[in-house]
Amino acid sequence: MEKIYERVSFTSKTSPTGYCPGCGHGTAHKLFARALEHFNLRDKTVLVYPVGCGGLAMPWINVNVIGAAHGRAGAIATAIKRANPENFVISYQGDGDLAAIGTAETIHAANRGESITVIFINNANFGMTGGQMAPTTMLGQTATTAQSGRSLEEHGAPLRMAEMIATLDAPKYVARFALHDAKNILKAQQGIMKAVELQVKGEGYSFVELISMCPTNWKKSPAECANYIDETVLKAFPLGVFKDVK
């Protein structure tokens, strides 16, 4: 028998990522690492990491990485790519990093049409710090800083970043996928391949939002998280490709 599925070649061979069991960050890393492998980009890659759970794979990914300050990955990725166009630049961010403190950097990098690939992990809470409300926390969803649940009156509705970014002229590919089952993961893999290919061909800005499970702070088992995504999360965050400029 021959291998028909194996681990990405350059990531750690000795220990897994630092993410919790069932966490979407792990899956997201697998997908973009696979794309780097597919396009043979590892040696040119510069990975801009956020502050938050997203950065927990730093020793595992074995790719040149720079740890941004919270919210500033969009600016760092912009500038590194401008000054080093031969590098392949990914801005990997969670919802606190990208949609709360980093909203300005996110929107302006997109609006300038920087030739970078943004991978946005939406797990509807601040994970690393223990489950506080994020801009993507859903109405009615509880969080440690919204203990009776998010309310429209007090907290406003969750931000739909992909749709917002898609209204800008410059971005070429903007999509949202989910990572809670094999069918959706395969679609997400295709989307990430497309986004990465755009940058490889130097054709501009791509933004991929990934609905991800956070078993620890959702207080659900990974399997229950998958059902929760189907029943609840996808209603607040519809999946789809919001922009795909040829």
């Binding site: 021959e2 194996e6 897994p16 990522t17 069991p21 069932g22 899956t27 697998k30 088992s221």
Partner: protein
């Protein structure tokens, strides 16, 4: 003829492969890895069709699939 290999040290016992397997031939076993996770294991290799769904859904690339 197909089978999977689960890297004991990479499995975090999240159970997503168990949920995804169309033949329901993966379970969380009694073997514990160095981090204290009960590791997933394939119960009946003969029924494995090499569909790779378990490997696709595994967040930690713990599963290698052969066919």
């Amino acid at each position: 003829m197909a089978k999977i290999e689960i890297d004991k040290e990479f499995c975090k016992s999240c159970g997503l492969c168990v949920k995804e397997c169309p033949k329901q031939i993966i379970q969380i076993g009694r073997t514990v890895n160095s981090k204290g996770y009960n590791v997933a294991e394939q119960t009946d290799e003969s029924q494995c069709i090499g569909c790779k769904l378990c490997a696709i859904v595994c967040p930690d690339m713990a599963i290698t699939v052969y066919k």
